[in-house]
């Protein structure tokens, strides 16, 4: 069965892809081609466009997609920086519950389990150097917890940064903590729990109110989605 909800949906490739596609399948959309073809970007029959998760808010804000699924981490990172400023102009409609992971602050393991090299650096040098792929979340977190930090933005393998001595700590997303352990890092502080969110374009939210509300009702009625 091929069904189109009458909406263009931005679907994230990567960690949230499987959960999102399962959700679409549960809504009665034929997801066979979507699952089978990881090169194709545009699936017109079912109104789906695929992209990396951090691009989802961009497409939805511009109205190139009516709704989309992305992680709360992405939304937080693209959130406003200064007070009074706003983040992406997208509506956050629903917490989809899946893709649960935690934004954490981690530093190198030490023989003394209570000894955190990042805090030592803060104590002695007055600043902690933090590597992250989420510079805004990290900066905001340090600011909110009243600590001075120096943010080093890296694009991949954040775990490497403290191991080479470039930084004292990292701020990163973790689901199971395996990568941290394998790299001899210890989670020190939890910053925020992130799950997949359903977002909508403000204009679509008005002009396609019936379709979007019907979708929300369907999603809330799903027994397995773990919505909430």
């Amino acid at each position: 069965m091929r069904t189109n909800l009458g909406l263009t949906i931005a679907v994230p490739r990567g960690a949230l892809f499987a959960g999102t596609v399962d959700l679409l399948a549960a809504l009665g959309i034929d997801t066979e081609e979507l699952r089978g073809n990881d090169r194709k970007l545009l699936f017109e029959d079912i109104g789906v466009v695929t992209m990396r998760p951090s691009d989802v808010p961009t497409y939805v804000e511009a109205g190139a997609a009516d709704i989309g699924v992305t992680g709360k981490d992405v939304l937080l990172e693209q959130l406003a920086h200064a007070p009074g400023e706003r983040g992406r102009d997208v509506y956050e409609l629903m917490d989809l519950g899946f893709g649960r992971c935690t934004m954490i602050l981690a530093s190198k393991a030490d023989a003394d389990p209570d000894h955190d090299p990042a805090l030592e650096s803060l104590r002695r040098l007055g600043v902690m150097r933090v590597a992250t792929k989420y510079p805004r979340i990290a900066a905001r977190y340090l600011e909110e917890t009243g600590r001075q930090g120096e943010i080093v933005e890296v694009k991949g393998s954040v775990e490497l940064a403290p191991l080479t001595g470039m930084v004292d700590a990292i701020v990163d997303l973790t689901a199971t903590g395996t990568t941290l352990r394998e790299n001899n890092l210890v989670e020190r502080e939890q910053i925020v729990v992130c799950t997949a969110r359903l977002i909508a374009n403000p204009v679509s939210h008005k002009l396609k109110a019936a379709q979007i509300d019907a979708l929300l009702a369907q999603l809330r009625a799903l027994p397995v989605a773990g919505v909430g």
Binding site: E92, P202, V203, S204, L207, A209
Partner: protein, 337 residues
């Protein structure tokens, strides 16, 4: 040689100027036909004077010192300057006063988002005309204007800025939680709204209502079964709706969650949407208390169209592009029903 200009500003060359001029000329004729006189005000104003208006997120972003050390700002909208003009120059006029303007306004921008630092706005202010007649007149002029420039598929979202605060008041939401809840609604973060409602310690019933009501949007049927605390605002919307000519009424989408990010709105608020564009192309509302802040208490209503967005929407409709384009057939089918 390439000499840069600030992001969010543009040079407008003859072809574009021609197209924009065609739009503004048409708008000017419509405004004129409805009796709105065009005015100019200075782009630079005293900060202390404009600060009387509660602009919230739309407050002026650019400040300079003049030669005496006074702080001047570049205006961020035309409503506050016109309120100043009315208080200063029409102190003994009983109203209603009708003004229109075509003016550049200046706002701070977020980088790489196509936001304009300098934005051409075309709009009207109707001062001394209370709801519902004044609101209905503004909506009618808005609709006439957009039809005259040839925009086909636009809709006007209508809400009421007082609805959600009244709802919170009557459902006994603790005072210190109200601002956060309102902020979540302004951003339409319904996930945050739900979490904040859990923390606010209101009854499940009240929380459900506070979450459900602002998500209601649709046709006039929405106005018939409003919950008790929202009745006043919804009755106001219905009175406006009853005064609208059929062609205008058909364009209206009621949106009980519509709140604009400008502080001075007191009653009806509206936004203009077109399927060819992902963001509103204009907006407005009632600001019954703004004139009072300038010392001349009068009810008022107005709207501003963002001329560049309107131009984009017109071009988008012409090309039939945009992910939202297919909606046109849906809307058309809905209207013929």
């Amino acid at each position: 040689m390439i000499h840069p200009i600030p992001s969010g500003t543009r040079d407008v060359l003859p072809q574009e100027t021609g197209e924009v001029r065609a739009i503004t000329d048409t708008l000017r004729r419509v405004f004129d036909r409805h009796g709105y006189g065009e005015i100019y005000t200075p782009a630079l104003e005293y900060e202390s004077v404009l600060a009387r208006a509660d602009m919230a997120e739309a407050r002026p972003a650019y400040r300079v010192f003049d030669e005496t050390g006074a702080v001047l700002v570049l205006r961020s909208d035309m409503t506050a300057p016109i309120a100043r003009v009315v208080a200063t120059r029409y102190g003994d006029h009983d109203g209603p006063l009708r003004f229109c303007y075509f003016a550049h306004t200046y706002r701070g921008v977020r980088p790489q988002r196509g936001q304009l630092r300098e934005m051409l706005q075309a709009g009207i202010e109707l001062i001394g005309a209370p709801a519902p007649q004044g609101t209905a007149e503004a909506l009618s002029v808005l609709c006439d204007s957009l039809e005259a420039v040839g925009l086909k598929d636009f809709r006007i979202g209508v809400g009421d800025a007082s609805l959600f605060p009244a709802l919170m008041e009557s459902l006994d939401v603790p005072e210190d939680h109200r601002e956060g809840l309102l902020e979540a609604l302004v951003r339409r973060n319904f996930v945050a709204l739900e979490h904040l409602l859990e923390q606010a310690g209101v009854s499940d019933e009240a929380a459900a209502l506070l979450l459900d009501v602002p998500q209601r949007r649709g046709g006039p049927e929405l106005l018939t079964d409003a919950p008790a605390p929202a009745v006043e605002a919804v009755t106001g919307m219905r009175r406006v709706y009853e005064l609208l000519p059929e062609s205008v009424a058909a364009r209206v989408i009621f949106d009980l969650g519509l709140i604009r990010n400008i502080g001075y709105y007191t009653g009806a608020v509206f936004e203009v949407y077109d399927p060819a564009l992902g963001a509103p192309i204009g907006g407005g509302g009632r600001y019954d208390e703004l004139l009072g802040r300038f010392g001349r208490s009068m009810p008022a209503v107005g709207f501003a169209l963002y001329v560049d967005s309107l131009h984009q929407a017109l071009a988008g409709e012409e090309r039939g592009t945009g992910a939202l384009a297919e909606l046109r057939s849906v809307t058309a089918a809905g209207e013929s029903r």
